[in-house]
């Protein structure tokens, strides 16, 4: 697709949809493949670099494949004070991967994230969209087993 073939952007308000389009694809495909970014750029009449720029700005969007289940452990101060390190270590041990990696079977990705607003239940983590709080290392295997 060359730049000249790009459809002109009829209305800058069209672009409002972009984040929702990317979030939707992230949910369905598990990441934003290059081809998808190029097609989205074409259909919205924007440059590929614009879409790529947005895709890489937000921490819940990914341009590399993520696992079927994404675990995000909060590493901000309130969770840190409640021993989030122990949770990070036990996830690491259970899954055999370090933050930023995906298990070879593609079942889990594991990331560290900033405050998820569950400080009253610290230490806390998100498994996909669900908050798991007041965690202890012995709760981890059970939480992981519940993930399909």
């Amino acid at each position: 697709m060359s730049e000249n073939e790009k459809k002109p952007l009829v209305d800058e308000r069209e672009r409002e949809k972009l984040l929702a389009i990317l979030e939707d694809a992230q949910g369905k495909l598990g990441y934003l493949p290059e081809g998808f970014i190029a097609n989205t750029a074409h259909s919205l009449g924007l440059s590929i670099s614009e879409i790529y720029g947005v895709s890489t700005f937000y921490s819940f969007l990914s341009t590399r494949p993520l696992g079927k289940n994404v675990i995000r452990i909060c590493k901000s101060v309130p969770c840190y004070l409640k021993n989030s390190r122990m949770i990070i270590e036990s996830i690491q041990k259970e899954l055999g991967i370090t933050p930023g990696e995906t298990t070879p079977d593609g079942r889990f990705s594991f990331e560290l994230t900033n405050c998820i607003g569950a400080c009253d239940k610290a230490p806390a983590m998100l498994v996909n969209d669900d908050v798991h709080g007041t965690l202890t290392p012995d709760k981890i295997p059970e939480v992981l087993r519940a993930c399909v």
């Binding site: 800058e12 308000r13 672009r15 409002e16 949809k17 972009l18 984040l19 929702a20 990317l22 979030e23 992230q26 720029g53 947005v54 700005f57 937000y58 921490s59 819940f60 969007l61 590493k75 901000s76 101060v77 309130p78 840190y80 004070l81 409640k82 994230t113 900033n114 405050c115 998820i116 607003g117 569950a118 400080c119 009253d120 610290a122 998100l126 969209d129 669900d130 908050v131």
Partner: protein
């Protein structure tokens, strides 16, 4: 002073999925009063007289902001509810939305009527995706009952970015762009979303509106201090026995909140207002919580005597460095350099000139950063340098000693 639940009076009382339980408790009466008995100008006047200030952290007078948008020329105006609660240690808006989404919807209805907006957005952070259903259901039920004939409320979800809680970055994000702070002026009430007059209010700010309209500005302004009217919802976390949400009349003491209510022991310090908040040492624990003194978003993170000051500040700065949008150099580079210095100090590899460097950098960032992120990031550094300077100085002398053991000249 005990808790005083005014904003949170319905939380854990009504069924957040059933509008009838809300209607039984005077639900939507304030919106009806505003629309039937008051002009938009009178509605704004009431909010102005109440003295309500923004609850997201900045504390701008709410009524004055609305008036700017009301008076701004424009064929289209927008209302945005900022539900991007990303400030570290803050979870009050989550609690509000999961327990009483209806008051929020009603508050938005009144705000939109006052400023003349027909379209409103709730910008919900990605981490709160699990609240999408309860919010949508509240909007749908309010619509079905005919309360939202004047207004369309849309929910826009963020995608994981602290800076998008900053109002100008938030608007860029709704527009489908990277969430980067904008140069101001122009300010949003005159030129905001797609260049149109826009009001951005925090969830908690909007929760105040129905109470003000229903009970009157005079009643409301009797609560609190001269510059800080009403109640504030605090999120207490860290080294406390009872972490959670507490609603207090503004002007209450920090001590009442963290020791009497939340049960903190051996307090070393409390950070008030999230990562960008002021650090209050135990010697100042009786400080009042208000806009005049210290408040921010109402996040209170307590650290006890066992905690290391520098480790805490280092982790806080790491947060800012990761979440800086990168648009302006003072913030993008300043936070990174601070992480480098604090990281060295944390592991015992500090140098004599580090304190001076931190102070110089802080001044530059506060003066020249584009938005609140870079302007506020140095606050925990400067506050701990003020109240816990010994910790820094000791760490530096330890570093010199450690290097001498390793045979390296300091």
């Amino acid at each position: 002073m005990a808790e005083k639940r005014i904003l949170l009076k319905n939380c854990e009382v009504i069924d957040p999925r059933d509008i009838d339980t809300y209607l039984d408790r005077d639900g939507f009466k304030a919106l009806a009063k505003a629309r039937d008995e008051m002009t938009p100008e009178e509605t704004i006047g009431e909010v102005k007289t109440s003295g309500l200030r923004g609850r997201g952290g900045a504390g701008f007078p709410c009524g004055a902001k609305w008036e700017l948008a009301r008076k701004a020329q424009g064929d289209e105006k927008f209302l945005i509810c900022n539900a991007d609660e990303g400030e570290v240690g803050t979870f009050k808006d989550r609690y509000i939305m999961e327990n009483d989404p209806f008051t929020l919807v009603e508050g938005m209805g009144i705000a939109a009527y006052a400023i003349g907006a027909k379209t409103a957005y709730i910008y919900l952070r990605a981490e709160y995706h699990f609240l999408l259903d309860v919010l949508n259901s509240a909007i749908d039920q309010a619509k079905e009952k005919g309360f939202l004939e004047h207004l369309d409320i849309h929910i826009r979800e963020g995608a994981g970015s602290y800076i998008c809680g900053e109002e100008s970055a938030l608007m860029d994000s709704i527009e489908g762009k990277r969430g980067e702070a904008r140069f101001r002026p122009p300010f949003p009430p005159t030129r905001g979303l797609w260049g149109k007059p826009t009001i951005i209010n925090n969830v908690e700010t909007l929760m105040n509106i129905p109470q003000i309209i229903l009970n009157g500005a005079e009643w409301y302004s009797k609560l609190g201090t001269e510059q800080s009217k009403g109640t504030k919802v605090f999120s207490v976390s860290g080294d406390v026995e009872r972490p959670g949400i507490y609603e207090m009349v503004l002007g209450c003491e920090l001590k009442e909140l963290v020791i009497d209510l939340a049960g903190a022991k051996n307090v070393k310090m409390a950070q008030v207002g999230g990562a960008a908040g002021k650090v209050i040492p135990y010697s100042m624990i009786d400080i009042a919580l208000s806009y005049e003194t210290v408040l921010g978003s109402g996040a209170v993170t307590v650290l006890d005597e066992s905690r290391d000051t520098i480790d805490f500040v280092y982790r806080t700065m790491e947060f800012f460095a990761e979440e800086s949008c990168g648009k302006c150099a003072p913030c993008r580079e300043g936070t990174e350099v601070m992480v480098e210095i604090l990281g060295r100090l944390a592991v015992g590899d500090g140098a004599e000139e580090d304190i001076q460097a931190l102070e110089d950098l802080s001044n530059v960032m506060m003066l020249s950063s584009l938005c609140g992120l870079g302007q506020a990031a140095p606050i925990p550094v400067l506050d701990t340098l003020k109240h816990f300077r010994n910790d820094y100085e000791n760490r530096i002398s330890q570093s010199v000693f450690l290097r001498s053991l390793r045979g390296i000249n300091s």
